[in-house]
Homo-oligomer: 298 residues x 2
């Protein structure tokens, strides 16, 4: 716990976050209560389901409902059934009216204006440095906001990750990826005590996964490590690996292994840098070219 780093991060929180945040709110509000303005913004020109708004804004269901009624009576939005094909008839969605769209465009304009008012006083050179530093802060903060937690493999978010994982493999392997040709992994193998499925989420959205099987009298085995494109290059894969290893080590396993395809070069590089060394094949996985093992400190 380095106190100089902490002091710098605190200064940032205070000066940047509080001040720019307050400005942002001021620009956003324009007469209307902030909560309404934020909601209007979040609905956006494309509309949004009520549940999604609740999740994104973190609002109480009753409160959100009331806010929607207010916007509705101001003629800015209409709330109706979210007629997705074969959808749940309870689900409703908010859509902007023409007046709402005008209002939204105004918010958009003001948001641009605020951003420009920050950049404008600077020289061209400093503007570019500021924007570059902002992008760096943003990326690294996103990295730090990713949470890795155990999750049941049957969870819809877990399923979504595994599907994305399979799509990625199909795209990257020379001969595509047919799950039927690959060694199967059953859900119950990824539920404690047999193993675990870890889910990485960013603001409750799934952005990565990984699993470990705790084989009896054999090294533990890592499966399904996947990270969404949107958060690649932020060290999430490495953190996932660390968590999986820790899980196995804490339960008494002293070695862990995995197999991988030769086309996944970054993954292979990550395994090597994480201390994995290549071993002889320990199974007959159709799509595997490399087998790795690492000893775990107790």
């Amino acid at each position: 716990m380095n106190s100089e780093l902490i002091a710098a991060a605190r200064r940032f929180n205070r000066t940047v976050t509080q001040r720019v945040g307050a400005l942002d709110d001021e620009y956003m509000a324009r007469g209307r209560p902030l909560a309404q303005a934020r909601l209007l913004w979040e609905i956006g020109p494309g509309g949004a389901e009520v549940a999604a708004l609740r999740a994104r804004l973190g609002l109480d269901s009753g409160y959100l409902s009331r806010l929607l009624r207010t916007l509705e009576s101001d003629g800015l939005v209409t709330v109706g059934p979210a007629d997705q094909v074969g959808g749940d008839a309870r689900v409703r969605a908010a859509v902007l009216t023409d007046a709402g769209r005008t209002e939204w465009a105004e918010l958009d304009r003001r948001s641009d204006e605020l951003a420009w008012s920050i950049l404008e006083p600077l020289t061209e050179q400093r503007r570019e440095r500021l924007v570059a530093a902002m992008a760096e802060v943003e990326r690294l903060l996103i990295a730090s906001m990713v949470v890795i937690e155990p999750c049941l493999p049957g969870d819809p978010r877990a399923r979504a990750c595994v599907r994305a994982y399979a799509r990625d493999l199909a795209r990257r392997f020379d001969d595509g990826f047919d799950p039927a040709l690959s060694n199967p992994v059953h859900d119950e193998e990824l539920v404690p005590p047999a193993g675990v499925f870890l889910l990485a989420t960013l603001n409750a959205e799934p952005v990565g996964c990984g699993a470990v099987k705790l084989h009896r009298d054999e090294p533990a085995e890592i499966k399904r490590v996947w990270v969404a494109d949107s958060v690649r290059g932020l060290g999430i894969g490495r953190r996932m690996l660390d968590e999986l290893e820790r899980y196995a080590a804490e339960r008494g396993w002293d070695a862990i292994r995995l197999e991988t395809n030769g086309n996944l070069t970054e993954a292979i590089a990550m395994y090597r840098s994480a201390g994995y060394r290549e071993i002889e094949p320990y199974n007959t996985e159709h799509y595997a070219h490399h087998w790795f093992e690492k000893h775990l400190a107790p």
Copy 2:
């Protein structure tokens, strides 16, 4: 108006500012209403005058008074006369009690905790990159928040800047700085239409100044360009120079000049890079070694 830069700044405002800001508030509040917690924090271990608190937090006078009563009745602060020597007996200051100091320390601790919770998930290397980028954003945002405006030379903030300017000169000149030996500048020469005094402020605190005298039938003359240490290296001096030149140019002057001491090397470099070229002495300023002039585009 570069729309890519704007888009990046907007993304930053949204993701970083809103999220970290919300976290910050949450950590700060700890049971107590946010406004009270913020006030307690702002009073700090050293205490603070009521007027200063009002300015820093941007609160209504009545509202602040009530907040102070609440903290007082909770036994966290005492509000009494701000007994500065020979001071205004109306001015009052808030001071933390022992209980208030304890509470403040707890806020301090939580603030550290929040900062660490942001850095902790990252690798050492990424932590350092994040902190460096945060510092860069902070500095450049500070630069962009500095406002340069005309101000009467008799304004206390202007006086404070001129005093700081004289102190700086005394420190940097080989033989100190005695205003009596220097060509005098009278207030009325720095009031329109004879000239102007510009004040640079950061959150209403004076951080720099500069003045121009509009001599009849002669080039305009720049005086008293000064920038506080706390905001040096952010291009404030250059902006000040630009504003002074603009002021003279807009009123019809086509040349502007200034004299400076040989020890002020960064200032001299700035003048040169801003297009000033050295000329023969146009006056007999005791402390001057160099005289510069620049032609102004109409």
